[in-house]
Amino acid sequence: MNASRRHFLRQSCGLAATAAPLLPGFDTPLAMGLAGIGALAAGQAVAADTSGYRALVCLYLAGGNDAHNWIVPTDSASHLDYTRARGPLAWPAQQLQTLSSTGQAAGRSFGMPLELAPMRKWYEAGKLAVLSNVGALVRPLTKAEYTAGGAAVPPKLYSHNDQQSFWQSLAPEGAASGWGGRMGDLLQSANAQPLLTSVSASGNAIFLTGRSVQQYQLGESGPIRIDALGKDRMMGSAQTSALLRRVLLAGGSDPFQADYVRLTQRSLDTTALLGTALANAAVPALPTTPITLASGSSLRLDQEGLAKQLRIVAQMIAAGPGLGMRRQVFMVSAGGFDTHANQRRDQPLLMARVASSVDWFLTALQGAGLLDRMTLFTASDFGRTLTSNGQGSDHGWGSHHFIAGGAVKGCAIYGNFPVTALGTSTDVDNGRLLPTTSVTEYAATLGRWMGLGRSELDTVLPNLGNFAAPDLGFLA
């Protein structure tokens, strides 16, 4: 097959995804689909379908989450394998709540720990799905190919910063852009405020940086205002505010000052805009009553960083349509997942933090009638070893992840859930799992929901053509 023929087939495949009437949430699916056909026929980039409002939220679990314990095999044979492999890290069967349906092979059943009950609720309600054994891949890979090494093995596996970068950008640290930002590049023209296309509530992350889109960073309590610019007179002078503005925006001739001033200008531009919009966004406050956990300890959502980030994102989503926004990509994060030690002690709290915060967020959006407009997905540096070091687990590779929102076809586990035992065809060593689904496919499925056609996804996800499944099917 020559290259141009393969290229054509790939586009045809993308055409099906674009034109198929499987986008019920879109206001004008057919028209955009037809436009897509015309553009494809001409070999042009397809204009993204940006009707309605949609928000994609990346929930990043920093450190490499041990999801082996989030989704646990519960049929007796599999649970025994799991317990053997994990040793002291394994969750006993009685602390797991079985999932009613998973779509995995007959005879297999799965459960989630009690700490994750607030998420399991949404799973059972059909608004949350699991994607199993997903991870960094350049192309589909066998264990033998991994052992042989070479260019098909993703670079710098098991390294925190590089795999954080790979998950977010599909390249190791130093990548110039991430796939959330690259989606933003293609979607920003639909937004009345392009500056707010890509928004982080958790600091600078490559995920949200596009080739042209710059991420906007929002504090947990909204934008910070420069107080002195609003004061009539200070320090004996009525001109302080005007002079401060001059100082802040006086660009130097070197790149450092130029970029510093650029950020200051963006800060000034957005603060006024968002101040009113966020104040008017009808999102409830975080509850101050402690939530008692299965372990006996408790947490308060109004003191949880992740919940605070999700609340400001909920406010942004609620304000989005009023600001003329149609497509937005957000990022929130939580830390502490690098559980080399004290995993049995720490993991229940980590789970409860995520589950309670996500539950609050989904409930808030549902209350605002916006749940169908938002898809939240989890990401993390890597999975972890099945084996224990006695106190915790080490850096791994493939892992299980979660997708939640009104458009999610939930109550299902997507992908092939591996046998959680050592020495299998997916165990490269110590229970580091060879991923059977790639981050690229995960991203493509999310990008398609955001309205991107196949050829656009190819620009966002450079290796998409290496994979068979550009749509994993977990989104309606």
Partner: protein
């Protein structure tokens, strides 16, 4: 010179300007910036004889009170020649009156004369003068050396009936002054003071008047030598111990126990300590050898953490190999990267050694991920690809090296059955200070397997089966220490911390050469490396204004700079500034992970950096919110200080030095001193104009408001990008 040839046109231009000002809203000339006024190309009818000296404009900012609808007449003379005359009619706000003249030279006698005083029936015509400016030099009438000579006509210049300079001429008379000359004795020292301040920005937490003078009177090399000779002080352990000494309530487990004593000790000691270079270097090493208090497992072990920070101080100018071993066996690091209590493998239960420390020891603390040339560039294989320094098998082998270690209890106290749980006791009665000891191995818990490191590389080594933990650690650290990557990998990061985000390959190469051999055949001499970094031509040369040399200073360094320069310390010892610092994205000793506050390889994804793939680590924590938060912090610092207790800043700055400078040396002296102390002598012309405008914009025209002038200038300087960017 023929005065008549330029008198009229220029008086006319003053009137013209007033008309323009009135036209744009009430004659509030104060809103017109100096940069709009200074270069006014006035009508030039000068004879060519004057062309040699550039024509100038003397701008008098004035207002008046009227009598019978007539304002005070203001006559300006330079060297007894009248250069202009104008009636001042604005009464509420200040207005600028420009007088063109051939040139204003140092030593010229300037008189501003009030000629039509009258007072009757409670109405008094007076002239008020806020400032005189030639566009670069600004004089305030109430500055030392300026006088008022009262009297009419020639009596205004007779040297009789004198008053100190003031902004108000309440009776006929002249405000008389000598225009400051160019470089005076203080100014001739200025270039060297600027150089000194610039080095102090790189090599300390900030310049102070005294250290600038001391360094200016010395040489860079001898200052560095003197700094390195100062002994290390165990500030952090001493601070924690002082709390512990208050009783068991202040020790771990007690209700007064507080691990944030670490940050308080830092704020208290770092800005004030004499051994600035050591502390600045240790703070740089802290970024590289990160142990963060964010890890809750360290919460109970404050003194162990304090000991780790002191260790960075103590070995800042020592040998890298020693530092490496101290760091690797420190219990704080053992807790943070979980090799404290790391057990050997147990195949029967699928248990494997913890890989955490082994991986980061290579990736972050010694050699990094890619083989490097001495100049820091990646080595490439025959296919042009970077070469990985290690494989996962190396991580697993090195993990076995670091098995068997736990707290360094006195011999005999640690046993196999206690290995998994025994922590030191910290009550005063039972405290053996085990947390101040290196970790010790328990032989039975150490992996005796053969460990092969770097198989296939020139520096491959096999640690034979049955080796002791001590022998394994020594061999592994020796191997890592000798790895050719260490010089460029660590050297480049230290350059980024101290001098510039994007050092040239040649600069890195020169520093690597010193790391490899300090000149006396010693590898890893950190003192020599720091000296080489600071004395390198690339560090000492002031960068071209458009070049990419330099760095963004992280928020903590900006804050420490203000504290040190203005002697700020807490009035109650609490240093409760967290609410002001949190939005800045950096809290001392609370980096989010072992990857630090920001990554040395961070390339901002913007046009200024991305196309060149230029690293600017500190930009990773700079965003729309943290720039705004910094401006708010600058306001607080300028206004007086940080924190808030009993209606006053808890951590106040002392502006008395700048007040003295303003009083004695005027506005130019103030701005020169701010330039030296806050900007290392790199103040741009634009910022100087803005600060000049700021100083004269303070309405209350007297020395009583000098503090406002200083505060305003400090605030705006701290808020400026020029302060944040070190160049």
């Amino acid at each position: 010179m023929k005065p008549s040839s330029f008198l009229r046109p220029h008086a006319a231009s003053a009137v013209l300007l007033l008309a323009l000002l009135a036209g744009c809203g009430g004659g509030n000339a104060g809103a017109v910036h100096a940069d709009a006024l200074a270069p006014t190309p006035s009508v030039n009818t000068l004879a060519t004889a004057q062309a040699a000296a550039a024509p100038g404009v003397l701008t008098v900012r004035a207002k008046g009170s009227l009598y019978a609808g007539v304002g005070p007449v203001m006559v300006v003379r330079v060297n007894q020649q009248v250069v202009g005359s104008v009636e001042v009619k604005n009464t509420a706000d200040w207005a600028d009156y420009p007088f063109s003249l051939p040139a204003l030279r140092g030593g010229d006698q300037v008189d501003v004369v009030f000629t039509n005083d009258i007072a009757a029936n409670g109405v008094d015509r007076n002239l008020h003068i806020a400032s005189l400016s030639d566009g670069t030099t600004v004089l305030l009438p109430f500055t030392t050396g300026i006088i008022i000579d009262r009297g009419s006509g020639t009596a205004a210049f007779d040297g009789l009936d004198l008053l100190p300079g003031s902004s108000t001429l309440a009776s006929n008379g002249a405000l008389r002054l000598t225009w400051p000359s160019g470089p005076d004795s203080a100014a001739s020292a200025l270039p060297r003071r600027k150089e000194a301040a610039r080095l102090l920005l790189q090599a300390s937490f900030g310049p102070t008047p005294a250290t600038v003078d001391a360094l200016a009177a010395s040489t860079d090399a001898s200052w560095i030598a003197a700094q390195m000779a100062l002994p290390a002080t165990s500030d952090f352990v001493n601070a924690v111990q002082a709390r512990y000494n208050l009783g068991d309530a202040y020790r771990p487990g007690g209700d007064q126990y507080d691990p944030s004593e670490m940050a308080r000790a830092f704020w208290r000691t770092a800005p004030a300590a004499p051994d600035q270079l050591r502390k600045r270097t240790a703070f740089a090493l802290h970024h590289i050898f990160m142990v963060s208090q964010v890890d809750a497992n360290l919460w109970f072990h404050s003194r162990a953490y304090a000991h780790y920070l002191d260790l960075l101080d103590r070995h800042a100018f020592g040998n890298f190999r020693t530092l490496l071993e101290e760091m690797a066996l420190s219990p704080a690091m053992g807790i943070y990267l979980s090799h404290l209590r790391n057990r050997k493998e147990d195949p029967s239960s699928n248990r494997m050694p913890d890989e955490n420390f082994a991986r980061e020891l290579m990736q972050l603390f010694t050699i990094g991920l890619q083989e490097l040339n001495p100049d820091g560039s990646p080595k490439l294989d025959s296919a042009g690809q970077p070469i990985e320094t290690y494989r996962n098998a190396d991580v697993m082998a090195l993990a076995k090296v670091f098995t068997g270690f736990t707290w360094g209890f006195p011999d005999g106290q640690m046993t196999n059955d206690k290995f998994g749980w025994l922590d030191p006791t910290y009550t005063a009665a039972a405290d053996q200070r085990v947390d101040l000891q290196r970790m010790k191995p328990l032989a039975d818990q150490h992996s005796t397997a053969e460990k092969k490191l770097f198989t296939g590389k020139p520096w491959a080594v096999t640690l034979p089966a049955g080796s002791s933990a001590q022998a394994d650690v020594k061999a592994a650290l020796d191997t890592l220490f000798q790895h050719p990557n260490v010089g460029p990998f660590i050297g480049r990061q230290l350059i980024q911390q101290l001098v510039t985000s994007q050092p040239s390959a040649a600069y890195v190469g020169r520093v690597t050469a010193v790391f490899d051999n300090n000149g006396a055949g010693v590898r890893g001499d950190l003192g020599a490396v720091v000296r080489a970094i600071l004395l390198d031509a690339e560090a000492r040369t002031v960068p071209d204004p458009t070049s990419a040399d330099g760095k963004l200073r992280e928020p903590v360094l900006g804050l420490l700079h203000w504290m040190r320069t203005f002697g700020a310390s807490s009035i109650n010892g609490r240093y409760r500034m967290g609410w002001q610092l949190d939005p800045l994205g950096e809290t001392p000793f609370r980096a989010p992970s072992v990857f630090g506050y920001f990554r040395p390889g961070h390339v901002p994804p913007t046009a200024a950096f991305a196309p060149r793939r230029a690293t600017a680590p500190e930009f990773q924590i700079l965003d729309e919110n943290s720039v705004a938060a910094w401006a708010n912090l600058a306001e607080a610092m300028g206004a007086g200080g940080l924190g808030w207790v009993d209606n006053t800043p808890e951590v106040p700055g002392d502006y008395s030095h700048l007040l003295r400078v303003l009083t004695n040396a005027g506005v130019r002296g103030l701005l020169d001193e701010i330039d030296v102390l806050l900007l290392g002598g790199r103040m741009s012309a634009g910022l100087r104009r803005t600060l000049t405008d700021a100083v004269v914009s303070v309405e209350e025209a007297s020395t009583r408001s000098h503090l406002d002038r200083v505060r305003l200038a400090v605030f705006l300087t701290l808020a400026s990008p020029e302060f944040r960017i070190q160049r």
